[in-house]
Symmetry: D3
């Protein structure tokens, strides 16, 4: 096992997703534990750890991409929370998703806003 | 015609895309001139003109979304150039597209990088 | 605010979607009220109000597009109901979705038929 | 071989696509001749031949679906021509594609309009 | 009705999907019975019955395609079960879905693994 | 740099893609060399090197996925050649793509067959 990438990835995952990311990895234990390891190593150990783009910009890109894909609601919810964790304001998340109506159509944006409402609602339940 | 939104949109389009955006609108003259007007009014007059997100972040979102869609190469090229116009560094554009391998797969990222190579190459031809 | 487009859009939305469209707009109040306004103004005030294509044909196009996208079930359900509102017969809606098996594959068509079954079932509950 | 479905399909294909459809089938001869037969039998012999929806409405659905998919330019061009063959006006084809900006985003609509320009241009070359 | 293709398709469907496939066809009775017939005739009577590729390889292709599409969870679940029926090991199904992270991104693979967990869980409930 | 994964990936890439894969990596040198390294390490060093699924089955999955995505023609061509390299017959590749008409629609299959024709044609030019 590649401890450097995995450890770097786990630290990055905790920084970005808080407990949400750890839950995704745990969830994979029963079905595909190696995939949990890849998820830590490649996206978080390799990509998010790269110096050329700040984490807030990275999460803007991810929220935009997941809204555009349309079918990735669970991952979009994780990354809306992640965007808030790394410094996006709720208003900025909403702006990104609204803008996606231009590029991926109104249904993708409407479903993205519905995901954001759920994430924001859960945050209020906690606080 | 709604001059406020159109004028605001044309100013925003010029700011973001330079002559590239104007060419897209001109190109629509012969086939669907009203669509050229909508393109100016809604995405640029309404959305990009909103205050809640800076233009650099908006272009990060757009480059990410267009890379994820996979089939939007002409628009991706316009917005890679636009991202550079509003303050993204070439390295940041590359980082966004690399990151998309995580969310939309390696083919989407490879095709995005190929579009970036073309845009960057054209820029070097001009200067 | 652009009252002409908004008012024209609200009238068109009521004509096409009945109360279903109004509910979507209301739903956006809490998360992105401006997006609710855009939804009324651009798709309904600008596009559906254009003279060059009758409303029944517009809804045929929309049901086809949403079935093809695959991820837009809530919007597909709204527009299946809308198609009936503007003069499509249930049988015609089913034909459109069946035909989509050719262009977007059997899973997209199967999921579209499942959405239609839900919409048709709800209509029977009301009457 | 199932002559009824094939013959019905060939007649329907000729009616809808003119020589364009025949060319697609011929083109498949060298690589997958059975697929050429399926293409005639299932979409045209089975689906387009069904009584519940007129051919013009079927082509409206197809143009919308292919515009939404984004990656199907060759097929979109064939079906833009087919839509004209079965009674759509050029203006109606343009309206369908413009409307798709709402559901699949502006890039899908822009690429659809570019396909329409090519088809309409070729028609003018002939006449 | 084309009894040869239908009968061949029903036999193939039973062989591949067990009762799951029959349920899909039954389910279509109330909304689009002809589509149930097409589903038997074209995919199963025509395609899966072709000699050039063994059934295990066909299901590998189908699981991969449905994972890539992202929006086809019900069909993916049916075909994960089908893959096991025609000789895939659970581990092989997991490998296919993990590999899809490369081509369609991590969200598509994560959602595919979640579908596999459900299918495998249901199998354990039965046995 | 992680020599084990990279070296294992380069060996796997050579085995699967022959010179085609190396060309993709070389091509990335000028625009995103790190991405070339990731492409070797993650898909080929990590995933294709896993023991649970044979290489022929892996390429069947990849050809199916890339055909379904619709926008990944350059990658589909590389992997059609790769499928032949690891033991698929041309007829099997054609069967996979034909089958995709069921899951992703006839346009995706038609474009996939067109890619296969190009790859097979180039092979004949060489021999």
């Amino acid at each position: 096992m590649d401890n450097t990438r995995f450890d770097k990835g786990m630290a990055m995952l905790a920084k970005i997703d808080g407990i949400g990311g750890q839950e995704v990895v745990n969830c994979l234990e029963g079905i595909a534990p190696d995939f949990g390891r890849y998820l830590v190593e490649f996206p978080f150990g390799d990509i998010y750890s790269r110096p050329g783009l700040d984490l807030k910009s990275r999460e803007i890109a991810t929220v935009a991409a997941l809204t555009a894909l349309g079918y990735a609601r669970p991952q979009l919810k994780v990354h809306i929370a992640a965007a808030l964790n790394v410094g996006c304001k709720k208003e900025e998340v909403i702006e990104i998703i609204i803008q996606l109506a231009v590029y991926a159509g109104f249904p993708a944006a409407l479903n993205g806003l519905s995901a954001a409402r759920e994430v924001f609602g859960n945050l209020q339940d906690i606080s």
